[in-house]
Symmetry: D2
C-alpha cells in the first residue's frame, strides 16, 4: 500500500474529494475475459449509498458508476479499468462555519499540519465519501474471485449493544438498515441511535467480515501475510481504530490447547474442529473461513459543541452542522467487504504467480 494505491497485482488507485466534481478509481492488473458491467458495480454501490434511512447521512447521491476503460463489449480486456462516480448533491455552504476550524477527532488538523493546504468542503479527501470508489473496486474484485468465494460483512455491535451470535442469520443483514445478522438487536439499535442522534452525538460500531471458499495457500509471508494485508486494508477505512482476526484480542486469554484449532483428516485436506485462527496461519490461508473484525469510532462531526482551535491558531468552539452519519460504522459493512475482496483477489493472483495456483493436499504430493 502506498499513497492512494493499494494492492500488488490487483491494484486499486482511488481519487476524489467529497465536494469535487467526481471521484473514482483505476483498477489495474485485472485478469482479462471476465464479464463486467456497470450494473455489477451498481448493486454493490447501492448497498453503501447514503440517504437510504434516517440512520445514515441525508446527502442524496445516486452513486452512478461509469466504466470509462478496460472493458470491451462487456468483457475485461486486462487493461486498466477506470471507474468514475459524479458527485451531484454537494452543499459546500454547509461547511462555511468550519472551513477554517479543526473538528476534534477529525482529520482536519492532521491534513493541515501535513500539507499546509486542504479542501475543507465535506472533509475533502478524508471524507468517507471516498469509500464509494473502494466499493466499486470491490465489485471488480468479486469477479476475479468468482462464485466460489463469498465475502460478507455484518455489524455486530453498535455503541455498547452487541448482537446475540446464536441468532446469526446472514439473510437478515439485508432486511434492516444496520446490516445486523441478528433481528433481535435491531430494535435496541434503533432506539439507541435515535437517542444518540437527537442529543447531537454519534456512536461507534464493530463490523465483522467473513470470506468463505478461500482455498488454503493464499498469502505471501512474511510481510505480505494475508492477515497483515487485511489489517492494513481494514485499518485504512475511515474511522477504523482496531482490527482483529479470528479469536483476535480474545486469544490473549486462551490457553495453548484451547487456542490451537485441532484437525482431523478430510477428503481434500484437514477438517478443522474450531476456527480461532480466523482462517489464517503464518500469514497463509488454511481453507477455513477468513474472519476479521474492525472497530469504528463514533463520527467526529457532531452537533454537540467541542473545544478546538482554527487555522489561525486561536481557540474556538466547534459545532458541526451539515449532513453526517450518526454511526459511520454502519456503512462500513459494504466497504469492509470491498476491501476484503480486493485483498483476496490480489492474494489469489500472487499465489497463482508464485506457485501456479493450486493448494497442495496432504497425502497427494
Amino acid at each position: 500500500m502506498s499513497h492512494n494505491t493499494f494492492g500488488h497485482l490487483f491494484r486499486v488507485t482511488t481519487w476524489g474529494e467529497s465536494h469535487g466534481p467526481a471521484l473514482g478509481c483505476v483498477v489495474d492488473g485485472c485478469p482479462p475475459g471476465l464479464a463486467l458491467t456497470e450494473a455489477d458495480l451498481q448493486v454493490e454501490l447501492d448497498r453503501r449509498r447514503p440517504g437510504t434511512s434516517r440512520f445514515v447521512t441525508q446527502r442524496r447521491e445516486p452513486d452512478a458508476a461509469r466504466i470509462l476503460s478496460g472493458v470491451h463489449e462487456g468483457v475485461t480486456t486486462g487493461t486498466p479499468i477506470s471507474i468514475m462516480i459524479e458527485n451531484v448533491d454537494q452543499r459546500s455552504k454547509d461547511y462555511g462555519d468550519i472551513a477554517r476550524q479543526f473538528r476534534p477527532g477529525h482529520a482536519d488538523y492532521a491534513y493541515f499540519a501535513k500539507y499546509g493546504v486542504r479542501d475543507p468542503r465535506g472533509g475533502g479527501r478524508s471524507s468517507a465519501r471516498e469509500t464509494a470508489a473502494r466499493v466499486a473496486a470491490g465489485a471488480v474484485a468479486r469477479k476475479v474471485l468468482g462464485e466460489a468465494v463469498s465475502v460478507r460483512a455484518a455489524v455486530v455491535q453498535v455503541g455498547p449493544h452487541r448482537i446475540d451470535r446464536s441468532r446469526w442469520d446472514w439473510a437478515e443483514t439485508a432486511r434492516n438498515p444496520f446490516f445486523s445478522p441478528d433481528p433481535g438487536v435491531v430494535e435496541a439499535w434503533e432506539a439507541f441511535l435515535d437517542e444518540t442522534r437527537k442529543r447531537g452525538s454519534s456512536a461507534g460500531a464493530i463490523v465483522e467480515v467473513v470470506a468463505e471458499g478461500v482455498p488454503a495457500g493464499w498469502g505471501a509471508p512474511l510481510y505480505g501475510k494475508l492477515d497483515a494485508e487485511l489489517a492494513a486494508a481494514l485499518m485504512s477505512i475511515n474511522a477504523a481504530k482496531g482490527v482483529e482476526i479470528g479469536a483476535g484480542f480474545g486469544s490473549a486469554e486462551l490457553s495453548g490447547e484451547d487456542n490451537a484449532d485441532e484437525m482431523r483428516a478430510g477428503p481434500t485436506g484437514p477438517l478443522f474442529l474450531s476456527n480461532n485462527a480466523g482462517g489464517v496461519l503464518g500469514g497463509i490461508s488454511t481453507g477455513q473461513p477468513i474472519v476479521a473484525r474492525a472497530a469504528f469510532k463514533p463520527t467526529s462531526s457532531i452537533l454537540t459543541p467541542r473545544r478546538s482551535i482554527d487555522e489561525d491558531g486561536s481557540d474556538v468552539e466547534v459545532v458541526t452542522k451539515g449532513r453526517h452519519d450518526p454511526c459511520v460504522g454502519l456503512r462500513a459493512a459494504p466497504v469492509m467487504e470491498a476491501m476484503t475482496a480486493c485483498v483476496l483477489a490480489d492474494a489469489w493472483l500472487r499465489h497463482r504467480a508464485q506457485t501456479g495456483g493450486a493448494s497442495f493436499v496432504p497425502g497427494r504430493v
Copy 2:
C-alpha cells in the same frame, strides 16, 4: 509490504530459517551520514535474545550481528546495509517427531498447502527466530529517527492478568523478565506462567507500543495511512491476532463527544486534552504520542497432546517437545518497538519527500 520486504523508502528485506546457517536482513534506503556500529544493533538484539529467563525458550543464541555492507568507518553511506546473525544452537533432531506432522495452530500446514515443500526444522521460515532480523533493522531505524523520537513497548496483559495502568513506570520494563511497566503484576505473571509451563500449556499476551516525539504530519493517506502501515507491521509479527490504535476496540463504545480529543491553542500547534486517537487522525500523525496494542495468541508448540494430521493425510496426535517460549508475546515487546521504528522511519522519509519535512503550524502558514 510485499513478500519478505517491507517499507517504501526505508526498506527492510529479511531472510533466514530457524535452523539454517544464519539469518539476516538488508536495510535499504537508509540516509547517509548516520553513526552506526554493530554495538548499536546488539543492545537491541540482547533485549529480544532467547535463553535469558525460564519464561522464554532455552535455546542459547548469542545473536551476534555482523554488518557486512553499507557502513564505512562507522558511518552509513546510503547504500544497502546487510546484517547477518549466525545460528549456533540449532538442535534439529528435536524436530524429528514432528517433521511430517502439522502442529495445530501453527503455520506448518499452511506452508505445506502453499508451497508443497517446507523446512520443518524449528518452524523454518515461520519461526519467531526471524524476528531477530527485524530487531536489527529497528536499531537502524532508531538512528534515522534520532534522539527526539522514542519508541518503547511494554507487556500489558499475560493470559487473563492485566496490569494496573495507574502504576505504569517505563523504567520497570527493564527490571523484570516480562517487560511489565507495573511491578505489582510481576508476581502474578510468574505464578501464572510457571503453572502454564508445568502443565505443558502456553499463554497469550497483549503488548503496547508508544512512540513519543513524532511530529504532526507523518503518514501518507489513504492507503499508506500511518495506522494502516502500523497495523500491517504489527500483524506481521508471529502470533499476532489483533491490532488497535488509541482507544481501539473500546472506541466503539464511546460517544462522539467523549471520543473526540478536544484541543486548545498551544505554542506550536494544538494541545490535546485526551488521546483516544492514539496520535493518528486520518492516517496522519497529530503530534501526540502514537499508541498501539497487539494481541498475541498462545504459542502453538505445546507438550499437551493435540489431534492433527500429517503430510500423508493421516490422523495423528501431536506432542511438541523441543524448546519453545511458553508465552511468545513476551519477546514481542522489542519486536513491536522495532517494527514501529521501521514504520516511522519510512513515514518520516516519505513525509520529507513530499513536503520537505516540516509540520505546518496553525497561525504561521
Copy 3:
C-alpha cells in the same frame, strides 16, 4: 514501473483506450502548495495534439484536460490529481476491416496472445493516443521541478536525414511542425515525409531530450539509477526501440581518455570539460545537462499491403486505412519531455527523502 503506473513517489497511473469515451491519468504523491490549472496542462497537450499539420494524424481532438481532484482554489493539495481527456473524434468504423487482423509490426497480435481479447478500435490501449495522459502528467511534473529545471526535446533524425548539430537552436523547434532544432533540415524532411506518405509508407525518427538545471545527486543506485529509470520511461513510449544516454552507443568506440569527462574546480562543484556521460554517472546526476535519445520505428499502420494472419489463424493481406501518423516519432518529442519530467520529479522527491535534498559540494562538507 508496474502495469499502468510508473514512478515511486511521484506516481502516474494512466488509463483509457483510443476509441473509448475518455482517457486520463491519476498523479499521486505530488507535493502540496503548487499552483496548477487546467491551462498549465493544455499548453503541453497542445504541442502533442493531433491534426495540426499534414505530417501527423488527421484525427481532430481538442485534448481538453479536466482536473477532477487534488487541486483546491488553484493549488495542489497533496492528494491524487485526477485528469480526464474526453475522446471526441473516434471513427471506429475505420477499423472494420482490420478488427480481426493483426497489423504486422503492431501490438495487435501480442495483445491477443496475452489477453485473448482486445479492443481493436484504434489500437485500443496500445494506441499512441494514450500518450496524451503522459503529457498531462508531465505538466504536473514540471511544476514539481520548478523554473530552475528545463526539459526540452527535439527531433534530430527523420528516416535517414539527420540534423546539422552546429545549427542547433531550441527556438526553432516551435517554428516547424517537426520539432527540429535545425531550420536547415526542414525542407528535406518535408519532401521526405510527403513522399513517404504518398507511397503509403511511414518513417522512423530519433528524438533527443535535454534536461538542464538538474543538480548533482539525483538518482537511486543501483536499480533505481537515474539513467535506468529514464531508459525504461522512454522505452515505454509507443514505437521506441532504443535509448541512449550521453555519447550512448558511440561511447563503445571512444578511448578511455576521450570518454572520461575531465573536471576543473568551480565555485559550486566541478566544471566539466565535456559531457559524454550525458549528465549521469553511476546512476546519479552530476549537475551537467542530462541528455538522452530514443529511436522510434516507422508507424506500423500503413497503406502498403503486408502479409499477416487474423484471429482465426488464417493468412491475410493487411492494408491499414484510417488516420495515422506517417512518422509517429515526431509527436514523441513532447512525450519524451513529459516522461523525462516525471522521472526527474520522482528522482527529486526520492533524493529529498533520503538525504534532505541538498547536493554535497567538494571543499564544503
Copy 4:
C-alpha cells in the same frame, strides 16, 4: 526497480561493496519446488569471474557462492534465498592515492555529491564487483524459466571492431576470452586490447543478448512493458550507456514496410518472416527470439593522467593504478544474461498471475 531491489514478483535485492567482507543478494518470490544447488550458481559465476585472462582485471576472487536460506534438501522452498560471496582479494591500499580524488568518468563524484560520504576502496558500491550478485540471482532465474528458455549473450563489438555476423556461432563464445561468437574477429580484438592496455587506456564494447523459447504474451503494458523493463535492467549494469531492442536505432532509417515483420499462419501462432521487433511488440513478447544490445563505455579507471578535482574542491591530476578491466564490456556478457533472465522470470510470474500463464493462439480461442 527501486534502490537496490529489482523485479516485482521475482525480486532481487543486492548488497555489498568492492572491498567489504562480502557481497550478496536476496532472491525473493522464487517458486517452490525447484532443484537448486550452489553448483548451479557457480557455473554462472565462473563465467563472470575476474582474473581468468590478461584482458580482465587481475584481482583473484574465487567468487564462491553460499546459499544461506530458502533451499531445503536441494529444493527451493518459496522463501527468500540469501546468497553470499566473500571477498578475499581486496587490496585497499591500491586506492590510497585516489581515496579523495574523483576519477573522471567514474561514479566517484556523483556518489560524493549525493551522499557526502562514500567508501572509496575499489569504487565501493559502484564497483562492477557487485555484478557477481546479479549473476548469482540470474542462475536462480534460469531455474524459474526452465530448460525451454535459453538466454545467451555475445560481445559483438570491441572499440571500433565489429564481428562479422555471418560467422555467428554461439559455441565460439565459450572458446575465447571475449565471448565473441565470431572466431574471425578474435585476433583483431586481442591486438587492439593489448595495445589499449599498454598505452594505459581502455576500450568500450557492445554486447548482444538473445532469449529463445519465450512464449508470446509476457510483459505488462504500459509501464511494465517487457522491453522497458529490459532497458532498465541492462542500463543498470555498470558502464552501460545505451540499450536497443531488435533493429533498435537502425529502425529509425527503415521504411514502414521494411520494418514491419510480416507473418504467415503457423501451427501454434504466426510464423514471422523477419525479427526487426526483437521479439517484443507493444511491450509484450511475440514468441520470436528476444534480442537486445547494450553499449558499454570504456573503463574510467585508467593509467593515463586526467584532469579532475578532489574532495577538498582542488584541481588534481588523476592516475588510476590498481587492477582494472581494460574493457569492462567483456565481462558484461554474463551479467546481461543474468539481468535478462531475471526480467524474464519476473515477466513469466506476472503473466501467470494475471492470465493463468498460457498464450492465446489464433484460431483456438
